[in-house]
Symmetry: none
């Protein structure tokens, strides 16, 4: 039996469906990476008895570790620390030094709001410095510290509880800090170490991957030692595989099988996302494009966008990455037809003749982005995101995307996307990134008949 853990997500808003929880799934994935299986994820409201009941339930299921998220704020309904102390039978003690550090964190906040009652704020934040006796404190990322609280009777006598704050931007770094603590490591002793690899494919349905797994076994591949999970995420297929280090050969054979069967649809074997690949390609990094990218050193290039139905989401996605100012010059959000003419230089005659949602206008937008921003690469997007505005000829979900190199080749594609407005807009940005990747890889590919630079061929 492997080491198991339970996850408790607290918060009445989460329980009531007002806030969508992302911590439970995130923690479950992280646990799996360190060889620990989640037994249950339990969502509870801000009622102490319900939280205590959840902790006792998981303890009865013999988990070695319970991870809680949320309930560490300064308000009265934030009571996770208190309940966990009770559960582990460890009295709460004020950690004066910690309280001082929290006050220090609050200082800039308090100076920003001069009208606040400084004493009242510190009073409510004081409870964040109450620590169960014998617990390990994880330094605050926001104002709330986390805790690793061992069982009353010591290691192995019941689950250790890792107490983390609710906001993902606090929880995620604190999880990584928790991994380093002795108290955490003592709790998960015996968890195996596993390798964890991710392949990404774009352009096939998930059922096709189910078929691949069936056929691979029929072809004699040893998939048993591999724990393979597949999922569809933002329009891409992710194949995540966990295996013992001794089964590396089985994984290598599986990866080679997928590469053979799906060819260019497999775009990443090192887990790199399409966002990361496009960024590396624009920066001119060698081998940036992942699978199928034969280029060595390549020129760095700048990019600009002209978006209609995505309304700035592609520019927003490109600039999500730190350092993107090195290759993103900017973009045009041309939601109205007037803006397409005035900003992107699309001709009114063309709009009149073929309509805003057309290959011609997508190409004119890509060219307009290059011309107006002086970039090396341009992306033009125009489509019907719905829910209104569809016609029989141009239904909701019809989107044209064009990516072009200045004075160079271009790719233009007609998409028919399923889903609601948000799905259509998001999926369009994913497709645009894949088209950008292909354009950039092909632009830098060695001419046919020539070996890839660095491939060591002497036949060129």
């Amino acid at each position: 039996m492997s080491v198991r853990a339970g996850i408790v997500v607290t918060g009445t808003e989460v329980l009531n469906g007002i806030i969508r929880d992302s911590n439970g799934p995130w923690l479950s994935e992280r646990l799996r990476e360190i060889g620990v299986d989640a037994s249950h994820i339990v969502v509870v409201g801000d009622r102490p008895e319900d939280l205590l009941a959840a902790l006792r339930f998981l303890a009865a299921e013999s988990v070695a570790l319970i991870v809680t998220s949320g309930g560490l704020g300064p308000t009265a309904d934030d009571l996770t620390g208190e309940v966990v102390a009770r559960f582990q039978e460890r009295p709460l003690e004020l950690d004066e030094a910690l309280f001082g550090r929290i006050a220090e964190i609050l200082r800039p906040l308090l100076s920003r709001w001069p009208d606040l009652d400084r004493e009242a704020v510190l009073r409510s934040n004081r409870k964040q410095a109450l620590v169960p006796a014998g617990a390990t404190v994880l330094e605050p990322v926001g104002t709330a510290p986390g805790l690793v609280v061992p069982p009353a009777a010591g290691d192995g006598a019941g689950p250790t509880v890792l107490v983390l704050p609710g906001p993902p931007r606090e929880l995620q770094p604190m999880w990584r800090a928790a991994l380093e603590t002795g108290a955490f490591q003592a709790a998960v002793v015996g968890a195996g170490t596993f390798e964890w690899r991710i392949m990404r494919l774009f352009g096939i349905p998930e059922s096709e991957i189910a078929e691949t797994l069936l056929v691979a076994e029929r072809d004699g591949l040893a998939l048993d030692p591999l724990e393979i999970t597949t999922c569809l995420r933002r329009g891409e297929i992710e194949i995540a595989t966990r295996y013992a280090p001794t089964d590396a050969a089985a994984y290598a054979a599986f990866e080679a099988y997928v590469a053979r069967r799906h060819g260019p649809l497999l775009f990443s074997t090192d887990g790199a996302t399409i966002d990361a690949q496009v960024a590396s390609l624009l920066l001119g990094e060698a081998g940036a494009g992942g699978v199928g990218d034969a280029a060595g050193a390549r020129p760095a290039r700048t990019v600009a966008t002209a978006e209609s139905c995505t309304g700035g989401l592609l520019a927003g996605r490109l600039t999500d990455r730190a350092g993107s100012s090195a290759y993103v010059l900017g973009g045009l959000v041309v939601y109205s037809n007037a803006a397409k003419v005035a900003l992107a230089g699309v001709s009114s005659e063309l709009l009149e003749r073929v309509g805003a949602v057309s290959s011609e206008v997508a190409e004119a937008l890509a060219d307009g982005a290059i011309a107006r921003l002086g970039s090396d690469v341009g992306v033009g997007i125009t489509g019907v995101a719905g829910p209104g505005g569809g016609t029989p000829e141009k239904p909701v979900g019809l989107v044209w995307v064009s990516v072009a190199l200045r004075d160079g080749p271009r790719l233009t594609r007609r998409l028919s996307l399923p889903g609601n407005r948000a799905d259509i807009r998001d999926r369009t940005t994913t497709v645009a990134l894949h088209m950008l990747r292909r354009l950039l890889i092909e632009a830098d590919a060695p001419p046919p008949g020539e070996a890839a630079p660095g491939a060591g061929s002497d036949a060129a």
Copy 2:
């Protein structure tokens, strides 16, 4: 004590964070509508012992009802019906008529795939017609029927279990069918109906609301009948309150207290988000701005953006809403300085003199958006989103936002935002929307000394 229910979501992929569950929150909201409180949502994998443990845990918590989702398919790992039968101590019996109806549903499917082994398919679907003795069958929406399974010893002797399929498009209509059954109604007898109201505030920390609740009680407000939860969401405070209809006066007093204490920081008392309020204000709807908006009919206005550090996220957020083409003309993503000059008409001399991150450039961007897109309102954003690029004078988190009416008043604000790159970018869009709201409300406010239109004053 109100009537309580537990929710069990089954599926290894959900537990492992690969598939995002939407059924738990959806069921929780539906339960609340009928006056039933969810006590816990438990996610379990496809292991029968873990599912049984979850059912027993919830029964021990004295819930009147357990709703399960998933595990009703034809494959071997679908075992919810079987486990629930065991839990309620009711033997499974083949419902021949139901099996016939399932075969009928499968007929068109089988004829579309002539290669399928008809017998094999029916064999695996046969288990879907196995019904615990005494259970009420809910007709299939897909191929899986749902079940309402009373406790072994009859009504009230333990929880009734409502068994629903996993796909939301099957689960949701089947939930509505379940509400009509006598077995379901018997389980939730005594559930009350509740009111549910949301207030939103912007510009104060969550600890300040904790203080408000304390002070309100000290001032003699009856908060006991109100179930109040507060949370911080995208930089805004949300106060969600549930109460019995007979306690409406207590809620009204609480709302008035919050309005008095926090004044203009309380921007919504009807749950409307800042996104919805800005959309309504731009559309010219009366009373669109929520609390403090005295205007009646107002002019409709168009908006355009010029964004540097947010890189299109504000335009993306404005166009998230269906129908936004009525008021969003477009935007400029001016990530590079060259783009600020070429696209938004910011002077190079100004950039040289005060730097890109400055009030002057934010204002020039707002004006440039208005000028280039011909809009009534412009938003300019420039800042340091990090992680690099900060200096002692202009640290990471420093952002300037300016909102302006064409030839009219403007608001310009310096922000010092905490958090990482994504937080800073997201928070900036929230602040920009609040500034837009304020500008639009003030633009349409009746001149001082004049009563608001429709206020019925005869003194004007």
